[in-house]
Symmetry: C2
Subunit: 496 residues, 2 copies
């Protein structure tokens, strides 16, 4: 009875979170330019009410009453998640929560203008204010190491800058070594991709692939937005955004499949977990393991293109004559370090994350001033990837995360790669026909496996425990490193 | 100081109302079919919080404190509007407000399915529940005459079924007489409109017209939806929905211009009235006077087509050769009673309203059972318009209003015609070049006139007072009747 009351109280908070998500989706897809001021106020008011309700004394009483009653195992998981969220919310003054929400809209708007103008200085004043508010936020939470640690808990619970470095260092070393050996090896021919590809046809093909992979259009939709994302408004409404470029046949498709991986996760929570804190991933790294699984491990695999290349050729008749699946597979896996994270190859990808991670730790600690970000960014790209960044739009303005105050978020991308490698290892053991199925265009067994071992668990396990239970392995980057060496050793004929 | 606190408290309520409007817009434009259950919950939660905050004791204290202080004239208007809304909200139990919001989503979904299946019985169970809740709502408000009166206050303050009949009866008599004389007169040739008109080109032309008439695309947008509407999320974000039909060149354009009339009103409130109850029309009838002004009085006028027909011909090259502005003007004003309100001609339009008005008074009083609506509807169309309704989709399912529980809303459409006739009378006196300007494609002076006399006043006047002050005439249907007789007497060569 008191558990029911608590669930309804939380359910209303969940409704408000979803309502805010709808407003956020609209802001990035269809909102007219002059709408942003009022939208910022609306989102700030919603955040304020969510915070107020989460931290209300009445919620504390409901929790205490519920704990005094008989609890099922799921009730205990519910309470554990709720109390984590509530304790964290309680540490933030309502005024700061509102100020952050308001600043998000302002920074987002400035970021859009700055990116269009390729000029970081348009964004800098708003980012400074955001960083100031984030330092305040970190101070409210408290931390032992660095302010970054305090903020990162929202994305990867239990992490710290030190721990992240421990995970990332072996990967960084292996990646730098692998990139050197690839650079010295023979080149892969991808010149047949250098054509203009009609974006509307790209979009039609991407929709076809989505449907074939199991994304249910009655429960979702795909819209265009400057930054691709996935957002969930309930079990029957999980949306994707993306964008297509005529210069790049694979970029748009790849981002659609990535976001679909997130969407299949959100669509896969138990129906009865809807409006509870259990219909959540334990961490963003876990969420990212799903998007990267579909984007990289499936859609950049040899069997995937054995099935889909003939279909792609139907969408672009005469444009890929004489290209076979093996050539196409090699072309979409060309390793060529570039400026843009979301367009980067599987090997160099993690270096993008490591650069951002190190920068944001320094920005928050005050070691790096906001005005000096472009210079530090460009230096890091020179040092780590050997590239000279031509302008801020393809440099430090490329991602939306900082505009939204999402400092601590980036490492989740590489955790996603690490976790998905572990999942594939186990899936290959459990599903001996995995890759022959993919070559026949059948992925239902893989989806069902993820559904059972990841999606349906929801937030019932901590991130590392979930991976351990699903794969039987403790988490480390070793599986990912093995995969990268094997796949690219084969592709580039490297001697191991 | 206490006035400032009150304004912030109301501002947050206004933010929530706008947030709910965004969710409603999305539900009708882009939401995937399976999203409706969660959306209903989200809207119900928002309604509940809006109601809770509007009726909170703390709001009562803020009002009392504000009243004890020094008040400007605008403060007094603010308090007057707020107290009207609050008194009305206070009469409704929170549970009923929530139940109504939840039922709106359910009824809307059933209405969509019923309309697609042309079958009222799919909608009937949900409508019955809606009517049951509305009777409860009417009982909470209390009424002297009939339950309809209690509900109509939300749309046309101060009205009653009796009063509506007093306004409508002379109009009904004059309309029936005019229709008879038109039927006996020579026919207007509109056969050149009976072609297929590409809906994408129609849309491009409509966007061109919108821009030319003053709708600012940086502050709005146009999307497709089953039922055209206008919705405002703030002064910089006022959106329109519409739909186009290949069979009808004028229908889509007409509905776009209608909704634009609403949008120009919402864009025209004073910037400083945003987030206050003053950024509202005094009534829906006043709002409708703006949409009907642009849709009928401007876009169905002779000078309008003198300017826009040559432009339309550029969009449909070769399709209207040999048609001149006079012929086109006559064709878009053909009087031909039909089933569909939103497609009906200017003369018979008001009969559609009178039929719905009489039906909903009876439905709410219990004189007419929900299951008997199709029969009663079809009988009324036979008696008043001489038409046999072929199916429910073009009969009693054509409009969304009842699905949303908006009983009492329809008369506002005819009040809009009545008020806009009065406004045009005065505008013609104040702006001697009005019609020659329209013939040159210039409507800025007309828009400025409405801006000054209607838009910027916001909710500072009661509906009838606003019209009296703007036009110097007491409200009655006489001006509209005079206009209809003159325009259609001329068009059909009637002897007066």
């Amino acid at each position: 009875m008191s558990m029911d009351k608590l669930k309804e109280a939380y359910g209303e908070i969940a409704d408000l979170v979803k309502a805010a998500a709808v407003l956020g989706w609209d802001q990035q897809t269809y909102m007219p330019p002059r709408g942003f001021a009022a939208r910022g106020q609306q989102l700030a008011t919603l955040s304020g009410i969510i915070h107020e309700r989460m931290t209300a004394d009445s919620m504390g009483r409901l929790i205490a009453e519920a704990k005094a009653g008989k609890l099922s195992e799921d009730d205990r998981h519910f309470l554990h998640e709720l109390e984590f969220q509530r304790d964290r919310s309680a540490k933030l003054p309502a005024a700061l929560v509102k100020a952050l929400a308001l600043q998000e809209s302002r920074s987002f708007d400035a970021w859009q203008r700055a990116k269009a103008a390729k000029n970081f200085s348009i964004f800098a004043p708003e980012l400074k204010e955001m960083v100031r508010l984030l330092r305040e936020k970190a101070a409210c939470f408290g931390y032992e190491g660095t302010p970054w640690d305090a903020l990162a808990q929202d994305y990867e619970r239990g992490t710290s800058a030190e721990l992240v470095r421990a995970f990332f260092e072996p990967l960084r070393v292996a990646t730098v070594d692998l990139l050197k050996r690839i650079e010295a090896a023979k080149q892969v021919d991808a010149s047949f991709l250098e054509q203009k590809w009609d974006v509307n046809i790209q979009r039609e093909f991407a929709m076809r692939v989505l449907r074939d992979l199991g994304y249910d259009m009655a429960r979702g939709r795909v819209d265009l937005a400057p930054h691709p994302f996935c957002t969930s408004f309930g079990p029957g409404d999980v949306r994707i955004t993306t964008r297509f470029s005529a210069e790049n046949l694979f970029d748009g498709l790849s981002s659609v499949i990535h976001e679909m991986g997130h969407a299949l996760y959100d669509m896969g929570f138990r129906e009865e977990d809807h409006r509870t804190p259990l219909a959540e991933a334990p961490s963003l790294g876990i969420h990212e393991s799903q998007s990267r699984f579909w984007e990289i491990r499936i859609a950049q695999s040899r069997p995937f293109w054995q099935h889909f290349l003939p279909i792609l050729k139907q969408y672009f008749p005469g444009r890929l004559d004489g290209v076979d699946a093996e050539q196409f597979y090699r072309a979409v896996n060309v390793v060529e370090p570039g400026f843009i994270r979301v367009e980067s190859d599987e090997v160099s990808y993690n270096l993008h994350i490591i650069i951002r991670f190190e920068l944001e730790v320094k920005i928050l600690s005050g070691e790096l001033e906001v005005d000096d970000i472009p210079e530090a960014w460009n230096r890091a790209y020179k040092e780590n990837l050997g590239l000279t960044v031509p302008n801020d739009a393809v440099g430090c303005l490329q991602d939306v995360h900082w505009a939204y105050g999402s400092f601590g978020y980036f490492p989740s991308y590489t955790f996603g790669n690490i976790f998905s490698a572990l999942l594939v290892d186990k899936m290959e053991k459990d599903l001996p026909h995995l890759w022959s199925d993919v070559a026949d265009g059948r992925v239902a067994a893989a989806l069902a496996w993820l559904h059972r071992h990841i999606h349906q668990v929801g937030a019932r396990r901590a991130p590392m425990d979930l991976i351990r239970e699903a794969t039987g392995q403790g988490p480390s980057a070793e599986s990912l490193i093995r995969h990268l060496r094997a796949k690219y050793g084969d592709l580039y004929g490297l001697t191991s």
